[in-house]
């Protein structure tokens, strides 16, 4: 059934440690009550919770996961995608790069391939949101509120995660690259938003004299407006200062090819220079490839180049901070296994999540894979969701940020985390 031996391994290393008592002395001495906390302890033996960072990259429009991590060893893949299949390694000048177990990476993601080789990059196959909707807006919303199918929750899970992390009072605890606060960051904790463009339009508050006047009106007020103003100005100053440092360095090199390729360098540099950043969020669009998506080259490849280069820049700019950072790339759902009549793919279900990080058990694939034969597809159409995206995120933040089960329940309410198959995804 599974053509990847280690993907579906029910007995994980950590289970094994917990069951056999072969864990480190730290665990034995600490007298921890539950195995979950025990995992968290081990997971964080190298990293303090307070300086662990999570960056979420959301690919809006549903990226075609089967062309991101290509199951080239499965003949069904080529049968189902005569026009858009990515060639097996070495078969073509735009062939995929070998990962493991008959899977390959889309060639446009070449810039992050070295991270795979360094075991800092992995993918969780057939993962996503369990909700069956194939509507972009609904699926994105569910994924961002962290509660698929529940309309009653309005805050985003990244915001609730902030509420569970130590409040370091920094105005840039959460950095959002964009122009509006996305659902995932909406809620009680504040976040700072900045546009990824290279030239910022000058606004009134960029004028010092004008800013001084507003400061006189706002600062010192007893109400929350005064506090919001001060936080906003502080965040803006921090971002401007760090970015101008970064710009100066960058100007010595080549300028970014397009607006978005700079997201990685800017965000990485901000996180490196400002240790109080705890979470980052970037949304990239243009993945709704119904028509003419191309194979190793073409529309999707162009989009993936931006993501791949952005991620590579991000990791490079993070520098030493990468050791404490996990980057998760996700999308609202996957696409159909078969190509459609227009050389594209339609809305599907399961997808692949990408995880990069200094503490990630990478260089191997995670998740459950049943192949592409018709009987194994979801509704004879697309990929199943065998791993809930919340399992992936909870595993990462639980361990890296030392969140207790009850804290995780705040981040992902009404989510019973029973799936332990990813217990080893964090080193």
């Amino acid at each position: 059934m599974s053509n990847i031996n280690n993907i579906d391994d029910p007995m994980t290393r950590r289970d094994f440690l917990a069951k056999t008592g072969l864990a480190t002395g730290t665990l034995l001495c600490s007298g921890l009550a539950t195995p979950i906390e025990a995992w968290a302890q081990i997971g964080n033996s190298k990293t303090a919770a307070t300086d662990s960072k999570l960056v979420v990259i959301f690919l809006r429009g549903a990226v075609d996961g089967l062309n991101v991590v290509v199951p080239y060893a499965d003949p069904n893949y080529y049968a189902m995608r005569p026009r858009i299949a990515v060639a097996a390694p070495g078969q073509d000048n735009a062939a995929c790069l070998p990962l493991s177990n008959g899977f390959g990476l889309h060639p446009a993601l070449g810039p992050i391939y070295p991270l795979w080789q360094q075991k800092k990059l992995t993918f969780v196959l057939n993962s996503g949101s369990p909700d069956p909707t194939r509507s972009h807006f609904e699926a994105q919303d569910y994924m961002e509120i962290g509660a698929p199918g529940q309309h009653i929750i309005t805050s985003g899970w990244l915001n609730r995660l902030l509420s569970q992390l130590p409040d370091n009072k920094s105005p840039v605890r959460a950095l959002n690259v964009g122009s509006t606060t996305p659902r995932i960051l909406q809620g009680k904790s504040t976040s700072a938003t900045y546009a990824p463009s290279n030239k910022r339009r000058r606004a009134a508050l960029d004028n010092e004299v004008v800013e001084q006047r507003f400061q006189q009106m706002y600062v010192g007020r007893a109400d929350s407006l005064g506090a919001a103003y001060s936080e906003g100005i502080a965040a803006r100053n921090t971002i401007n200062e760090k970015l101008s440092n970064e710009q100066m360095m960058a100007n010595q090199g080549a300028l970014p090819a397009n607006k978005f390729s700079s997201f990685g360098r800017q965000l990485g540099s901000l996180i490196r220079q400002e240790p109080k950043v705890q979470v980052g969020f970037v949304a990239l669009g243009g993945f709704d490839t119904h028509v003419n998506q191309g194979a190793g080259k073409g529309q999707l490849a162009n989009q993936l180049t931006t993501v791949g280069q952005g991620l590579a820049d991000l990791v490079q700019a993070l520098g030493p901070a990468f050791a404490r950072t996990t980057i998760v790339v996700m999308s609202e759902f996957g696409r159909t296994a078969r190509e459609n009549g227009n050389g594209g793919t339609d809305h599907g279900h399961g997808n692949v999540m990408w995880v990069l990080g200094g503490n990630i058990n990478g260089g191997r694939l995670w998740g459950k894979w049943d192949g592409l034969s018709a009987g194994r597809l979801n509704e004879n159409r697309d990929m199943p969701v065998s791993t809930d995206y919340r399992t992936v995120v909870a595993q990462i933040i639980g361990e890296q940020m030392r969140l207790s089960q009850s804290q995780l329940n705040t981040v992902f309410p009404n989510f019973a985390r029973t799936d332990r198959s990813l217990a080893d995804i964090v080193v």
Binding site: D141, H151, T190, T193, L225, A228, Y229
Partner: protein, 564 residues
């Protein structure tokens, strides 16, 4: 000179003490102060235009409110008349589908790539056109219309019965929904408003009731591209999945009783059964490939009645007007139009078994059941409380006083849910005039920008920038994708980025550089007169130190302007 005038203004604004009023507060001669009138115009509308305070002062608040409660007696300016003259607002759902919605289905399965691409492009252009017309009409009315109370109510009720403009066919029905189902009922009986939304195709589509079908029933094949279900899996094709509870649940949770309104999951299921078969025109009974999507014949032939004429003959079968409409042939399959907006009731998909909703036994009788349950819901005390709480939250305070909600609920129950009477109760209450609520509620982005334009005597010439600001502020017009609508509290809207953004916009308006508006000749003094019930020492001192040409922007970005 300038300083003096400003100080004087401020002195007046700061001076009025607030006596306790009886519950007919508006009639009280005490309500003559500028502060009271500003407070009232900030709540019963989106703020005063320069000169309006004096005008209302002369006529008295009571008379002003009377006029506002009968909006149709107030003439609209040309700018409004012009903005509302558009297909998005004028046409029926059927016509809108025919003219703007069909493009999306134009390219059949066997169309070439180029044809499909062209169809998609056409559909996108159509959607944009409808959205622009709808948003322009809304914004111009909010800024220019003298029917200010009605404008606030349209904002409130649309949000209460929220739909999302980008969901499928609602791309073309968004304006019709507001114009037909919300606006005419905004000041009327709640039951009528509820009934209008329940029979509007836009709502039935948004909350999926058009798919709601008696369990185990075969279905028509309108799996539509717009709903994001581009290609259905073969197994699911041409089959509805039976009961869809979505609308039933939100009808109780959001539209009427409220989440703690005392209903159970069983009530939701039973209500969903009552609502089976209520939807949009499609070939009913599972008979073949028809429906909205495929029919190529014009929906309304030449010489066919206008939508208004159709509306007059509410309830009649659309087939009378031109025969074979939207896939509904005279095949006697039991489907017929209900209400005046183009909704259909398909008896073949209706569950005729008897139901029990909130303790009421509903005998299986077809579409009459729907009226029965809407009556029950509208009359329910939980609905009175829920609606009145929300109104009080919108018009007065994030956490409105229980005593006020209770007074309003009493009026609701005694006056058959008459919204005008409920508002009268509120405006006349002591609570409404309690100084603690004056200039204390944080503006939503919508109110912020509309009030800034009104207070500066501006008029919209191009709404693009304003719609863009709302998008950036996280409150795009018609863009709330969940049925609960936008929040109306400070918690939801006050954050550092948003505040800085507002200040930057304020400065742009103050400098006369805000795109798409013409701004009147406004001074800081006349601006302060329109909105400032009081200014803090910090604010007035800063204004006085600022060069005259920058004062307007400063005031619009002041902490006092962020609230109302």
């Amino acid at each position: 000179m300038t300083k003096l005038t400003l100080s004087l203004t401020l002195a007046i604004l700061l001076s009025s003490p607030t006596p306790a009023y009886a519950d007919n507060a508006l009639a009280s001669p005490n309500h003559k102060s500028e502060q009271d009138i500003i407070h009232f115009l900030n709540r019963a509308g989106f703020g005063a235009r320069p000169g309006e305070i004096e005008r209302v002062q002369q006529m008295g608040l009571s008379r002003y409110l009377d006029q506002q409660l009968k909006p149709n007696t107030l003439p609209e300016p040309d700018s409004v008349k012009q903005a509302i003259l558009c297909d998005a607002l004028d046409k029926s759902c059927i016509e809108l589908f025919q003219k703007y919605g069909r493009a999306n289905f134009k390219a059949g399965k066997n169309a070439s790539e180029a044809e499909k691409k062209a169809a998609k492009k056409e559909a996108r252009q159509n959607f944009r056109q409808i959205y622009e017309q709808t948003a322009t009409a809304r914004l111009v009315r909010a800024v220019d219309s003298p029917r200010q109370l009605q404008e606030t109510l349209v904002d409130f009720w649309f949000n209460h019965f929220n739909i999302y403009h980008k969901k499928g066919l609602d791309n073309v029905w968004i304006g019709a929904y507001e114009e037909q189902a919300i606006r005419p009922y905004a000041l009327g009986r709640f039951r009528d408003l509820l009934g209008a939304t329940a029979h509007h195709p836009a709502m039935l589509f948004y909350l999926d009731n058009w798919q709601n079908t008696k369990a185990g029933q075969p279905q028509p094949a309108l799996q539509n591209k717009l709903a994001g279900q581009t290609t259905s899996p073969p197994s699911a094709k041409s089959k509805f999945k039976g009961i869809n509870e979505n609308y039933a649940r939100e009808l109780m949770e959001l539209h009427t009783l409220g989440v703690d309104g005392g209903y159970t999951q069983t009530d939701v299921q039973e209500l969903a059964r009552v609502l089976t078969g209520l939807g949009i025109p499609a070939r009913g009974g599972g008979g073949g490939q028809g429906g909205l999507a495929r029919r190529q014949r014009p929906l309304l032939g030449p010489g066919v009645m206008t939508p208004r004429a159709m509306a007059r003959r509410a309830g009649a079968r659309i087939t009378e007007y031109g025969g074979d409409l939207i896939g509904l042939g005279p095949d006697g399959n039991g489907s017929k139009s209900v209400g005046e907006f183009g909704a259909y009731f398909d008896a073949n998909r209706h569950d005729f078994g008897s139901k029990n909703v909130l303790g009421h036994r509903i005998a299986g009788s077809g579409e009459k059941e729907i009226e029965q349950v809407l009556d029950i819901l509208a009359k329910h005390p939980s609905t009175a409380k829920h609606i009145c709480y929300q109104l009080a939250q919108y018009y007065l305070a994030d956490e409105p006083p229980a005593s006020l909600v209770s007074k309003m609920s009493d009026t609701y129950l005694k006056q058959d849910g008459r919204i005008d009477k409920i508002l009268e109760t509120m405006f006349n209450s002591n609570e409404f005039w309690d100084p603690r609520y004056i200039n204390a509620k944080f503006k939503s982005p919508y109110r912020f920008i509309i009030s800034a334009l009104r207070n500066t005597d501006s008029h919209l010439t191009d709404p693009t920038a304003t719609a863009g600001y709302l998008r950036q502020a996280g409150m795009p017009l018609y863009g709330c994708l969940t049925p609960d609508g936008y929040k109306n509290t400070q918690d939801a809207w006050l954050n550092p980025d948003a505040l800085l953004n507002r200040i930057n916009i304020a400065a742009t308006i103050g400098a006369g550089r805000y795109p798409g508006v013409t701004t009147g000749n406004i001074t800081a003094e006349s601006l302060a007169d329109t909105f400032a019930t009081r200014l803090s020492d910090q604010t007035s001192a800063t204004v006085k130190k600022t060069p005259a040409n920058q004062r307007v922007g400063l005031l619009l970005g002041s902490p006092e302007f962020m609230k109302y």
